[in-house]
């Protein structure tokens, strides 16, 4: 039986945001002033991008589903800020924050939402299906839990190729009840794969509180023990803590090629998607409490102000720049062209897009 990593009881996570006890953790203490400002800037960019999306959705320019990441920024920001060349990520449909963190541009992200050919997936994927494989970002997956085996496979490939890397596979607290997730857990542990399953526990799967969906309430990460995997729980409102504890799991992946389950406690401020009126299953007070006392972006801002890394003026400048960038992205999306009807049947098969002497299959492959 592998020893679980640090055992923190979730109760202890309920403390109000304040100076982070993880500021002095080596991964954080070693950050330069510029690193810290860059990390804060990225969190602010996610926040403003998402808030700009709300307006565009309300203008009717984004259809379908739009799942916002507002409130959860420290999870993607903290974890992804640690990654190196051979570390990969994959997530579910709440995927904008991760995209911006790996370095996708606001333009391509916004244009994807409005279905433009200039979008990251050329208007073919939409909000739930962002991809940037050149940045080690493998999506953006609409089916709950479906990405967990894929992430395990990415980790397998990294290991197979003899690289010192990993894959972070993100999912929600509702996703832990998909069979595919459990099969992935077992494979990851059985084959010693460098995968980190990151459970972003925002307390709800749509209108279902975590207690109503999941046996073993309070701590989902502990299920890892059944698979002989290490696990940890993290306060997702404190980006320093996210970094400190993720670094341990990353080291385990890199040095020992062993998987970890990280459960990160976080909160979403808006409905499950923009289609959810968010009126029935949780208290307005609860949302207010999180917004006012635990906001991850404000908490990090406070942290950096007290460290004298940020000044109020600089913070204002960063936030204004992020808003302006989001505004520009909205205009870019507006002015971009749609894909064409001919584009509908492109990108289905490699073979079809690369017809030539080297392609081997014959016969009709796209039908009338």
């Amino acid at each position: 039986m592998a020893k679980p990593a640090v055992l923190t009881h979730p109760e202890s996570l309920k403390r109000p945001a304040g100076p982070s006890e993880y500021a002095k953790d080596p991964v954080n203490a070693s950050m330069s002033k510029a690193d810290k400002i860059a990390l804060y800037t990225k969190m602010a960019r996610i926040r403003h991008f998402e808030q700009r999306c709300i307006r565009i959705y309300q203008q009717g320019k984004i259809g379908g589903f739009l799942h916002l990441y507002v409130g959860q920024e420290a999870v993607a920001a903290g974890t992804i800020s640690l990654l190196g060349k051979h570390d990969h990520i994959i997530t579910g449909y709440r995927d904008h924050g991760h995209g911006l963190m790996v370095g996708m541009g606001m333009n391509e992200c916004m244009a994807e939402l409005t279905g433009r050919v200039t979008g990251c997936s050329q208007g073919k994927g939409g909000s739930m299906h962002y991809f940037a494989p050149d940045k080690n970002y493998w999506g953006g997956h609409g089916i709950v839990g479906g990405q967990a085996p894929l992430g395990t496979g990415l980790a397998y490939a990294v290991k197979y190729m003899g690289l010192k890397g990993s894959c972070l596979a993100y999912m929600g607290d509702g996703a832990v009840n998909q069979g595919a997730v459990h099969e992935a857990y077992n494979l990851a542990s059985l084959w010693d794969l460098p995968v980190i399953f990151v459970v972003e526990n925002n307390g709800y799967s749509m209108g279902t509180s975590q207690e109503r969906s999941t046996a073993h309430p309070g701590c989902l990460a502990k299920r890892a023990e059944g698979y002989n995997m290490a696990w940890d729980v993290i306060n997702g409102h404190d980006v320093y803590e996210v970094r400190a504890k993720t670094a341990i799991a990353l080291k385990r992946a890199h040095e020992e090629s062993k998987p970890t389950v990280l459960e990160i406690f976080t909160y979403r401020y808006f409905g499950h998607s923009m289609a959810d009126p968010d009126k029935t299953y949780r208290d307005k007070e609860e949302i207010k409490e999180y917004r006012e006392k635990k906001d991850p972006v404000l908490a990090f801002e406070q942290e950096l102000l007290s460290e004298k890394v940020l000044t109020p003026e600089l913070s204002l400048k960063i936030n204004e720049a992020a808003m302006a960038e989001a505004d520009k992205a909205a205009i870019f999306a507006d002015e971009s062209p749609d894909p064409t009807v001919a584009d509908i049947t492109k990108h289905i098969y490699w073979e079809e897009d690369n017809r030539g002497p080297k392609t081997t299959s014959r016969g009709t492959i796209i039908f009338e």
Binding site: G63, G64, F65, E112, G115, R116, S121, G123, K124, G125, G126, M128, H129, H141, G142, I143, V144, G145, G146, G174, A175, N177, Q178, G179, A180, S205, M206, G207, T208, R212, S213, T214, T280, Y281, D338, P339, T340, V341, D343, I344, T345, I348, I366, F367, E368
Partner: protein, 325 residues
């Protein structure tokens, strides 16, 4: 006759069957406390309580399989899939278990389960959420599949499905949920396997199911007004069992057939219908059978293109004119 929505018709069917038979149980994600992701089950928890209306975790393979198991012992579960697209994580249960248990037990075990939920494109949600698996599922003997297009059919087919002793998969459509139509006040069912002539005509038969019926009816109006063509629209309603006689009778009358479905073309429902017509009414045909289906690609996200990918009124009219040429 009351005028109610497709959504209300489905709810009324479940409500009446819940009252009639205490073995009926409704299960699915968000069906109880949240009143249904699409509000089809709204109010049922309040009326019937948590024993009959049950919220599940996001574990389709688990809860659908559980429903199949319970049905073997005589419970009559009506399972909601938030989208039929999510049935793919429960494919083994839905196809292998529900579809084969009666056969493999030599008829000893029945599986009276209903699985229902929306199965449609056209809502700008991308490839993973836009599947229409009626053809895939109907290709498995042991399984029944229906696709109501109107409130009347939605209620009647749902009630028939719940009373049926075999697995019946009801494919609804989120775009139709608000459509209104007349529904009788008294108890009725629409038997599985009975097609409905939704519009009578003499020059061309359009065979369709699901929302393609509504599209075809609009196209028929235009064909009549602008081209002076009299179109008959046959709504399959049920894919398996299939009402072969109603299709053939219409083709024998009009001698021309256009088949419209929102599926992708390859091995679609209409591939089977086309085979049926040519094998049993070949001599009646005055023109080759044509089809309109979705452009053969995973569902595109861009709404403007998705509307062109799917059968729309313009495409149906244009193809009908080709059959008539």
């Amino acid at each position: 006759m009351a005028v109610i929505s497709y959504r209300e018709a489905l709810r009324a069917a479940m409500r009446e069957e819940l009252k009639r038979d205490d073995k009926v149980v409704i299960m699915g994600e968000e069906v109880a406390q949240f009143n249904g992701a699409y509000k089809v089950t709204e109010g049922l928890l309040k009326e019937f309580g948590p024993k009959r209306i049950v919220d599940t975790p996001i574990s389709e393979a688990g809860f659908i399989g559980l429903g199949i198991g319970a049905s073997m012992l005589g419970i009559r579960p009506v399972m909601e899939l938030m989208f039929w697209s999510f049935s793919y994580v429960a494919f083994d249960q839905i196809v292998n278990n529900a579809g084969n248990i009666r056969y493999m037990s030599g008829g000893l075990i029945n599986c009276p389960i209903v699985i229902r939920g929306p199965a449609n494109g056209g809502t700008n949600v991308g490839a993973t959420h836009s599947h229409t698996p009626e053809a895939i599922l109907a290709s498995h003997p042991g399984i029944k599949v229906v696709c109501p297009a109107t409130p009347y059919d939605a209620k009647g087919l749902m009630k028939a499905a719940i009373r049926d002793n075999d697995p019946v998969y009801v494919m609804e459509n989120t775009i139709l949920y608000n459509d209104k139509g007349e529904v009788p006040d008294e108890d009725y069912i629409v038997p599985l396997g009975v097609a409905d002539v939704k519009r009578v005509g003499t020059d061309l038969t359009i065979v369709a199911h699901g929302r393609a019926v509504i599209t075809s009816l609009k196209a028929a109006e235009i064909l009549e007004k602008e081209h002076g063509v009299s179109v008959e629209v046959v709504d399959l309603r049920s894919i398996r069992p299939l009402d072969e006689e109603t299709i053939l009778a219409s083709v024998r009358k009009t001698h021309r057939a256009l088949l419209v479905e929102e599926n992708k073309p390859f091995c679609g429902v209409d591939a089977q219908v086309a085979y049926l017509i040519q094998s049993k009414a070949f001599d009646e045909l005055d023109a080759p059978i044509h089809r309109v289906s979705s452009i053969d690609a995973p569902q595109i996200y861009c709404k403007r293109m998705e509307d062109l990918q799917m059968p729309n009124v313009e495409r149906v009219v244009a193809e009908a004119l080709k059959v008539l040429a």
